[in-house]
């Protein structure tokens, strides 16, 4: 007979694993990717592939040659970072090399510099995205215009996003239904609220995320922008339009809910979502950038340890 195994209890484990969680998140991102390919064509697919491949490659290189630890690229977290990074950039030809730099920053500075999965204080994809936005402001704000389904040409016409247009003082130029389905200019993966919600529902069903962060994030943004809109409908955007344009949906469902960088208790998650929503609307309306989701989430990431400290779970009988 074999040697008997000895360990402390429990002797069984749920079939959850980090790997499963990560690949399920990847699966949840697929609808948004499909919509992006449908609207932005081959460019979107190529940018995504390049981003994913370079994130995985950089993680592997860093683990193998710098940290000299066993590689963990199989857990799928680098793929998520790659996809989210691609989802946060416009699908233009320029992006095909710029996104590689973004991937290096995301994996190198955003994640591996802190020790890898689970130790990074900021969402790595957003670190990469914000780095690119500051370093390549022109390329990062040149948005392809949606023109039919699955355009095959690489040189697409460019235009402003609804948020950009609004910032400049003109009307968003899209209907609410367009915005919900994603028929508008914008970053690759953020356009279709429908596809994102589909993925979010899957994550909720698999209990990978809870409703707290998305609902408080979107809810805060909705209520705050509704107040502003009621005060002055001329100057401020329609609240529904506010949440369906730009990155609020993607941010609230996929980036603010990143387990590593968001608070752990339910009450903490509500505070976190509230902060994200509030900061997003403030940056959008009074900041220099037309969009503020990335900055809002990064700022809230930085206070996550504090929130974790304040918001302890309710103890049994106390």
């Amino acid at each position: 007979m074999n040697l008997l195994n000895i360990s402390g209890s429990p002797h069984v484990h749920s079939d959850e694993s980090t790997k499963k969680i990560m690949w399920r998140v990847n699966l949840a991102l697929v609808p948004a990717l499909l919509v992006a390919i449908a609207y932005f064509g081959l460019n979107a697919l190529l940018v995504s592939l390049i981003a994913v491949a370079s994130c995985v490659l950089f993680q592997w290189l860093i683990e193998k040659f710098i940290l000299k630890v066993p590689t963990t690229v199989g857990d799928g977290s680098a793929v998520i970072t790659g996809l989210l990074l691609a989802f946060n950039v416009p699908s233009t030809v320029d992006m095909m090399w710029i996104v590689v730099i973004g991937a290096l920053v995301a994996m190198g500075i955003g994640k591996m510099a802190f020790g890898g999965l689970g130790k990074n204080p900021f969402n790595p994809a957003l670190v990469g995205r914000v780095f690119l936005l500051i370093s390549f402001p022109v390329q990062m704000t040149t948005w392809p215009v949606v023109d039919g389904i699955f355009p095959m040409n690489f040189d697409v016409a460019t235009g402003a996003t609804p948020l950009g247009a609004f910032k400049e003082g003109s009307l968003p130029g899209v209907t609410l239904m367009d915005a919900f389905l994603g028929h508008m200019g914008g970053s690759l993966g953020e356009v279709s609220a429908l596809a994102i919600l589909l993925g979010a529902c899957y994550l909720l069903w698999k209990k990978i995320i809870t409703w707290h962060i998305p609902v408080s994030f979107i809810g805060t943004a909705l209520i705050f922008s509704a107040i502003l809109w009621l005060v002055n409908p001329e100057q401020y955007m329609d609240p529904l339009m506010t949440i369906f344009t730009g990155g609020i949906m993607l941010g609230a469902c996929f980036m603010a809910t990143d387990m590593v960088t968001s608070p752990m208790s339910k009450s903490g998650q509500l505070i976190f979502g509230f902060g994200c929503g509030l900061l997003t609307i403030i940056i959008r309306n009074w900041g220099a950038y037309p969009e503020g989701v990335s900055f809002a989430i990064l700022l809230m990431n930085s206070v996550t340890p504090l929130i974790n400290r304040w918001c302890k779970p309710a103890r049994f009988a106390n």
């Binding site: 209890s9 969680i21 387990m259 752990m264 208790s265």
Partner: protein
């Protein structure tokens, strides 16, 4: 349907031995009876080498407060009094008996008649529990006479009988309910009388509908027994969780159930109480589940305490499969892994659970991704991930400040951790360190 409010998990139930009737395992040629089969100090042997003993004769006497009597499970001659390795390989004081025949003490009523009437006063019941060496059979083996002596100034309002059997695999309580419902109800009535409470509540998880039906039918014939079906959730059978599920009350940190007017006993204990009070039979037998996914047959069996694991295996499944990876005494969530199969069983053992090599191995540990699953699963509202980090860093004071001593070691945190971190192990280590620190400060 009632359940506890906070945390909990739902492991695969695996009640595969549900339909196996309780069978009697024959007595071995030699028996070893440990002197500490209960929580607290070991009993003092009151027999000498060469003494003749009968079944049910006192061989170890409780001489300190936190202790329980030990009786001979067999008749024969005392071979020696010498420490023996228990199931975990640790040396424990024991009495070795060479079995000769099967001669019982005259006082024990061995007829199959069921005796309902109990005329003893509450105090007499408690002292008889002590005499008969009854301990809690839910796993903690807390001496019953201490539990049923309600301290001055406190009042019991609820008697709760734990028949949740929330642990995966275990079916011994289920079989007892199916086969000995009446005796159990009499035992519960006796305990109710000992405490002087109006009602006793028997909590049964809803995955045992037949047992619920049977017990409900039987309870109608008794006064003050309420069957409480509970939603299936682990750790329903934990004392604080069961009280919360049945009464809605919460036992505060560092307090005992009696502080909120509750006394909790296991169903197996109620059966043992019946036999002790009505039949004068000391606690000398265990009802064990012998189960495992890869075993050819599943069993529930009645064994004399002191029968070795190997003998139980021999008389039930024959031999362990070649691929056996782990043998557990107790359920998969809180049971203990057995290293020494030549060790005798003791009071409170509820199973011989055989796990296959593949399922018995832990997966490699990965990095914590702060998903918070451990926190959401914790039925006590603690932060296992934090304990893990603090224990690793040796920050024992902070571990204590975060209420690590509230932990009931149910294992929900490790069970739900996607990174396979040995959270429950780390918390136990932390608790040991905190206790050592507190002892050093005193």
């Amino acid at each position: 349907m009632k359940t506890f409010k906070m945390g909990g998990v739902h492991p695969e139930e695996n009640k595969i031995s549900n339909d196996a009737a309780i069978q009697v395992v024959p007595v071995s040629a030699q028996m070893v009876v440990l002197m500490n089969q209960h929580l607290g100090a070991p009993a003092t042997p009151v027999v000498q080498k060469g003494d003749k003993v009968k079944v049910g004769q006192l061989i170890g006497e409780a001489q300190t407060f936190m202790c329980a009597n030990v009786h001979s499970p067999v008749s024969g001659t005392v071979l020696k009094i010498e420490p023996v390795k228990d199931a975990f390989g640790l040396l424990k004081p024991a009495v070795h008996i060479t079995v000769e025949g099967d001669e019982w003490m005259d006082t024990i009523d061995r007829t199959p008649d069921i005796k309902r009437q109990c005329d003893l006063e509450p105090a007499a019941i408690v002292s008889k529990l002590k005499e008969m060496g009854i301990v809690g059979l839910g796993g903690a083996t807390f001496p019953a006479h201490i539990k049923y002596s309600v301290p001055e100034g406190k009042k019991a309002e609820y008697l709760i009988i734990n028949a949740a059997e929330c642990e995966p695999y275990l079916t011994s309580d289920y079989r007892v309910m199916m086969e000995h419902a009446e005796e159990v109800c009499i035992g519960v009535s006796i305990l109710r009388k000992a405490l002087g409470v109006p009602n006793a509540y028997i909590g049964i998880e809803s995955n045992k509908p037949q047992a619920i039906a049977k017990m409900q039918e039987m309870a109608r014939q008794f006064e003050g027994i309420v069957i409480e079906p509970l939603k299936v959730k682990y750790p329903q059978g934990a004392e604080k969780q069961l009280i919360n599920a049945v009464t809605g009350r919460k036992v505060p940190s560092g307090k005992l159930p009696i502080d909120v007017g509750c006394v909790v006993s296991n169903l197996g204990t109620a059966f043992a109480v019946y036999e002790a009070i009505q039949k004068n039979k000391p606690l000398i037998e265990n009802i064990l589940t012998v189960t495992g996914k890869k075993l050819p047959t599943q069993h529930n069996c009645l064994v004399r305490i002191g029968t070795t694991y190997n003998d139980i295996i021999k008389h039930t499944i024959g031999e362990l499969p070649a691929t056996t990876g782990k043998v557990i005494s107790g359920g998969t969530m809180m049971g203990k892994a057995v290293v020494n199969l030549d060790a005798p069983t003791v009071k409170g053992n509820s199973s011989v659970l055989v796990m296959d090599g593949d399922e018995a191995r832990r997966n490699p540990e990965m990095a914590c991704i702060r998903c918070g699953k451990c926190m959401n699963a914790c039925p006590m509202g603690l932060e296992p991930y934090l304990f893990s980090a603090l224990v690793k860093a040796g920050r024992t004071e902070e571990v204590q400040q975060n209420n690590i001593l509230d932990c009931i070691e149910c294992g929900c945190c490790f069970f739900s951790c996607p990174a396979n971190k040995p959270l429950t192990d780390e918390i136990r280590l932390g608790k040991n360190r905190v206790r050592a620190m507190m002892a050093a400060k005193k």
